[in-house]
Amino acid sequence: MAFVRKEFLHIFRDVRTLIILFGIPAAQILIFGYAVRTDLKNASIAVLDNARDNVSTELTRKLEASEFFAVTSLLESYDEIDATFKEGKIKAVVIFPEDLGARLTREGNAAVSIIADATEPNTASLVTGYTSGILNDYSATLTGHITSGLPVIAPEVRMYFNPNLQSHFMFVPGIITLILIMVSALMTSVAIVREKEFGTLEVLLVSPLKPWQIIVGKVAPYFFLSLFNVIIILLMAWFVFRLPVRGSIALLIAECMLYILMGLSFGILISTIVDKMENAIIITFMVLLLPGLLLSGFIFPIENMPKIYDYISMILPPRWFIEIIRPIMIKGAGIAYVWKETLILAGMTLFLMVLSARKFKVRLEEKAG
């Protein structure tokens, strides 16, 4: 169709559009992958060793040896803990009880306290998680089998599924989520509003093209470009960070298509409300991109948020999308694990589609002169 071809021409002629389309995804992958790391590297911790036996010495050595921690101070008594934290130099204190080794031999289990500096909740949970991991490893070597009924402090899920403890594993699904919103919702709304601003939409409406043909013609290119972007991101994730997609690629792509449809519908909806490109951009940012970034669990885990944000995030499509593609990409989950989220996302998509289609029609009629 001549009309779809024209839309592609628009896109490829506009350098800024091209940068948004292809430059930003690449840049984001690299920035988030390399710069914004939420995994630990050489976090300073202190050890208060009340036991001073073989076990505690061995554990301290293990903590020190791991690349995540640097044991920077050895404390003498509980009194020092408060002061050490206040200095702000350490992230956590690991406290071995006096009877550590004795209890282990006598009763087969023991408790080690980990106190973390929770001014940075994310780091704190990471530190405790990693420390627990190291303790668990050690207890596993004691008993000789890996998954025994030892009292384990539940390790963070990502450690389990992400044995290298790399944070960019987490970011790739988030980036896909954001990029797709940008390309689908933002670019479509801008593209349609642009035709409004230049007066070309009017001409299209007077032409024999039906309104749905105009809309499909406008959004189809962005649908394909969005998919293309997903593939670029996945390829980059693989070549730069060696991140494989564990689950079915077909399922992943299908979910992405659903999400893109949601974005496109949202874009159309915005375009029926505003008449200026700037407003289209602002609304997309305020309504979709910003909350999506902050509340979807992309950067900040939803579990750490106050309950109210949890509820707010439930109306945000990006949240559900992230919950769908994370397990697919990282855990290799199938549709059986994500059907509920998929259904919610599909419902939202349908709702937005119907709403935008109706709005678009109304807009055509109401223009009086």
């Binding site: 024209k6 628009h10 230049f198 070309t200 299209l204 007077v206 032409s207 024999p208 093209l209």
Partner: protein, 247 residues
């Protein structure tokens, strides 16, 4: 001029809630004539034009455009008309040739038909050297000409021009009107709204709208005589702004 009616409007009413945008309009437009549609802003000319273009449905009354009922089959009307608005209807980031192809394609023409016609058109306008230039690189006057040529590219029966010359210099306007004459001489009816009263003088017939009604309709010279004014401008002021605003 043979008096074949190409637009027939009888008792057209368009209401938006309590507001009567078009109040029982009745007029005909004949094939091949240049019909000027005048009126102050808000007089209802855009509303009427949107109905004639199949964009909006009349509340009541009979509207026939190119033999097609506007309340029943507005989509059919769209195939037979051309349209050009006051804002440029061309895509600025496409070339001249691409714009023509796009519009040809939208009106269901195949590339086999489009390409020879396009080249013939470029030749006729002496535009061949601009063929592969982007629209935004063209001077305003040329864009205007091209926009009009594109609006009649698919050989419509009627072409609607919505204030096609606003913001254009007098020389370009003059050239533009030469194109309009040329088009009308080929039997394409030209329906034009304008703010420029001197342009109204170029029309075969004009209708002046005021407060949703047609206040006067005839050839410019007949109207001038009837109202005893020296120009259409004077006439317009007399008719379109009624002295008694309280009714």
């Amino acid at each position: 001029m043979e008096k074949e009616k190409v637009i027939e409007v009888k008792d057209l009413v368009k209401r938006f809630g309590a507001f009567m945008a078009n109040d029982r309009l009745t007029f005909d437009v004949y094939r091949g004539e240049i019909f000027g549609f005048l009126g102050a802003n808000g007089a209802g000319k855009t509303t009427a034009m949107r109905i004639l273009c199949g964009l909006s449905r009349p509340t009541s009354g009979r509207v026939t455009v190119a033999g097609i009922d506007a309340s029943r089959r507005p989509e059919e009307i769209k195939k037979r008309i051309g349209y050009m608005s006051q804002r440029f209807s061309l895509y600025e980031d496409l070339t001249v040739r691409e714009n023509i192809e796009l519009y040809g394609g939208i009106y269901g023409m195949s590339m086999k038909v489009i390409i020879p016609r396009r080249e013939a058109l470029l030749d006729r306008l002496s535009f061949t050297q601009y063929g592969d230039m982007l629209i935004h690189a063209l001077p305003l006057g040329l864009r205007q000409k091209l926009a009009f040529a594109v609006a009649v590219f698919h050989d419509p029966e009627i072409v609607f021009l919505d204030e096609p010359t606003s913001g254009v210099d007098p020389v370009t306007r003059r050239q533009f009107w030469e194109m309009i004459y040329e088009t009308a001489s080929h039997g394409i009816t030209v329906f034009v709204t304008t703010h420029y009263m001197d342009e109204a003088e170029y029309c075969d017939r004009i209708a002046i709208m005021s407060e949703g009604q047609i206040a006067a309709i005839d050839s410019p010279s007949a109207l001038r005589k009837q109202y005893g004014t020296a120009s259409v401008e004077e006439l317009f002021v007399k008719i379109a702004r009624p002295q008694k605003s309280k009714t």
